[in-house]
Subunit: 429 residues, 2 copies
């Protein structure tokens, strides 16, 4: 017995507050999910091309079994000894560069970024933080200030420590080897030093997913990493979206970008939706942070969270999900290129592995963003049973970021439907 959507929306406003956004003009009420599929309360099935949190598939049996088994056995905290956290960190760190050997587990990516920024401050004694001007790294008081669009009208007055560089945009402002981006960061470092604040760190998603995942060649972050290190700062790579094999070519996007970060931030997909985040760094950095700041997280690294996170790593390995992301991603790029050949509105096709999409423009010559059109496409796709979204500075880039077991057949269904929707949606209605 499910209630009408209208009633649910009224209850949301009453109980959650009046301005809590939902996806789509016509919000969806999901009641069941499995693998890459979701079902709404009316029994309609949707192909999930959006959700990265259920990384190894909605309701993945291995993850659910791990959670249930551990929840029935023991769930405490890290002030008692437990094997689960140790074996998980052992496994996680073997997937990274040997320098990245020590981990603090949290419950969210926001908590992890909040630690990462303080690590940079503890290690450098400086407070100047640089990020791009079109990104998002989380919701704590400190971390939310990394989102330029997010800087509150009121606020705890930390604005002076945050500096922003223009987000890379391979389509409109090519920077083929990353030297332009590196120079912009260098300018901000100079400005921070001149202001007496000093430079602590650069925080980036190494694949710049929120910025619209610009098309960068491998090794693109090398120049900026050099600039950061030369200035004595830390390079923080927020792999919340780009990590755990999402990009197909590598387990971590920083590898593709040719750098080894000082701090890696993890979140969303880490335990398939069980609230787990984490910070990976060298033992020296973790020690520096712990000396500067006392830190304990009650739920962080609890046995159930570790069991869920471990099951995700095992599932990635056993099912070959990184290789799957690579091959399905290649196929998706082909299908998208094919679509672009027939639809003028597609200005640029981008992506790697299972993060891919296309930038919609009103005119290929002027590259004017077709933001409102993209919104209508997404809503039309939702009504045809395909779940996806949009992102980027102009919110005109299709955001396709499905669970990792997404198959070529799933991609086929996505592109067949997209073809129909693009044919039916008018640029100027």
């Amino acid at each position: 017995m499910t209630r009408p959507v209208k009633e649910l929306l009224a209850d949301r406003i009453r109980l959650l507050g009046p301005n809590v956004s939902t996806f789509y003009d016509d919000p969806v009420h999901f009641v069941k999910a499995e693998g890459v599929w979701l079902w709404d309360a009316d029994g309609h099935r949707y192909l999930d091309c959006y959700n990265n949190v259920p990384h190894v598939g909605h309701c993945n049996p291995r993850v659910v079994d791990a959670i249930c088994h551990q929840a029935r056995t023991l769930n405490t905290h890290t002030r008692y000894l437990h094997e689960g956290i140790l074996s998980y960190i052992e496994h996680l760190t073997t997937t990274m560069d040997t320098n990245l050997d020590t981990v603090i587990l949290t419950c969210t990516g926001s908590e992890a970024n909040d630690i990462a920024l303080r690590m940079a401050e503890a290690m450098t004694g400086k407070r100047g933080i640089i990020a791009t001007d079109a990104t998002y790294h989380g919701n704590t008081s400190l971390v939310s200030q990394l989102s330029k669009s997010n800087i509150p009208t009121v606020g705890f007055g930390l604005g002076q420590y945050f500096r922003f560089v223009e987000a890379p945009d391979s389509y409109r402002h090519p920077d083929p080897d990353g030297t332009i981006f590196a120079a912009k960061v260098a300018d901000q470092i100079t400005a921070l030093e001149e202001d007496g604040i000093g430079f602590a760190c650069l925080v980036v998603c190494p694949y710049f997913i929120n910025e619209g995942f610009p098309d960068h060649p491998d090794g693109w972050l090398k120049p900026v990493a050099e600039v950061v290190r030369k200035a004595g700062g830390l390079l923080i790579c927020d792999e919340v979206q780009s990590g755990f094999g999402r990009i197909g070519s590598h387990m971590w996007a920083y590898e593709k970008m040719g750098v080894v970060p000082d701090v890696v931030v993890l979140g969303k997909p880490m335990a398939n939706g069980h609230p787990v985040g984490g910070v990976v760094a060298n033992g020296d950095v973790v020690t520096g942070f712990r000396k500067g700041y006392r830190y304990f997280n009650t739920f962080g690294g609890n046995p159930v969270s570790c069991a869920a996170a471990m099951a995700v790593l095992q599932e990635i390995d056993d099912k070959g999900l990184v290789a799957n992301a690579y091959s399905v991603g290649e196929y998706a790029r082909e299908r998208m290129d094919d679509l672009a050949a027939r639809h003028e509105v597609i200005g640029d096709v981008r992506g790697s592995g299972l993060i891919f999409g296309a930038e919609m423009v009103k005119d290929r010559a002027t590259k004017v963003p077709a933001s409102e059109f993209t919104d209508r496409v997404i809503n039309a796709m939702r009504h045809r049973g395909i779940i996806l979204s949009r992102l980027g500075r102009y919110k005109n880039t299709l955001k396709i970021r499905p669970p990792m077991p997404f198959s070529k057949e799933n991609a086929g269904m996505l592109f067949d439907t997209l073809e129909t929707v693009l044919s039916e949606t008018r640029l100027n209605p």
Copy 2:
């Protein structure tokens, strides 16, 4: 096959960093738990008199079943509609004053306090925050500054916004009606206003548990609440430890203390160890916050978290756990008083419901804290299969805060063992 503790400790240092504390001189390696019981890797059983996170009992079958059922069915986020979050908030808010009608769900109490402070700022336009000088409210960059002992040597420079008042201490500095505390808060408000910072909020645990749960009569917070409201600030009650019936006499400690807070912060016991926290406030306050700060929490309010949290509320109701906390708490106070009649080291017996303990002193006349003795008592108790801890400004107060199904029989075992340990432990070894 379990590894020796020595090996686990070495791995902890290697993988978690060198200074991650464990409980007890001889850390415990738990592998199994049920209700109020824990078992270590050697098969020894321990009575849990400490852990409040497994609020309705370790591995509570109702909570575990709720988690498993929902994790097998659907786990998404609040940008889709879901009944679970609505029915949970509906149930939760019915346990509170009618003004407290709107909720933001998070993953931790730290995230919840981080929101609460920003709510105060959004509503008042001021940044001055007052807390006691012997407490702890969480671990984000902003919230960790509420812990005076925690203020980092380095830091993000918010120190000017935080002011501290001496924590209440009913044993050494009686303040029977709360007017002394209210006057101290009033002084800090004046200081904040004189400094041009202005007053945003007072944040307290209404039962001052970290401060050593001083013995206050019902209604004790009324005078300070008046001072806070008169100055235009918000009263934030952090019920992370004191809430969900822990104190026995009421569901929420703010009720016992005779006030209705503007914001209630929830955490630890909320979902029995599943990472859930939350902020409850009036709709106007939530709206004010959301206007000042964009806020979304990926894992916050997900269907599995809500199912776990709902099962906790149902279990509290069905098993009469608040009434149990009351009656077992009364019995525990009697047993503790009885113990105090025979042991000079017990200076003061305090508590309400299932948060109780005693302050250990070297001399009842001088009240000099027997901190190191208390530490030895706790370690001796651990070796006799009783898990508890210590707290308060001098860390000389036994901290007894068991799961809520704790019975009189359990309390009997605790006090029989404590009697033995107190008899065997020398004040000056």
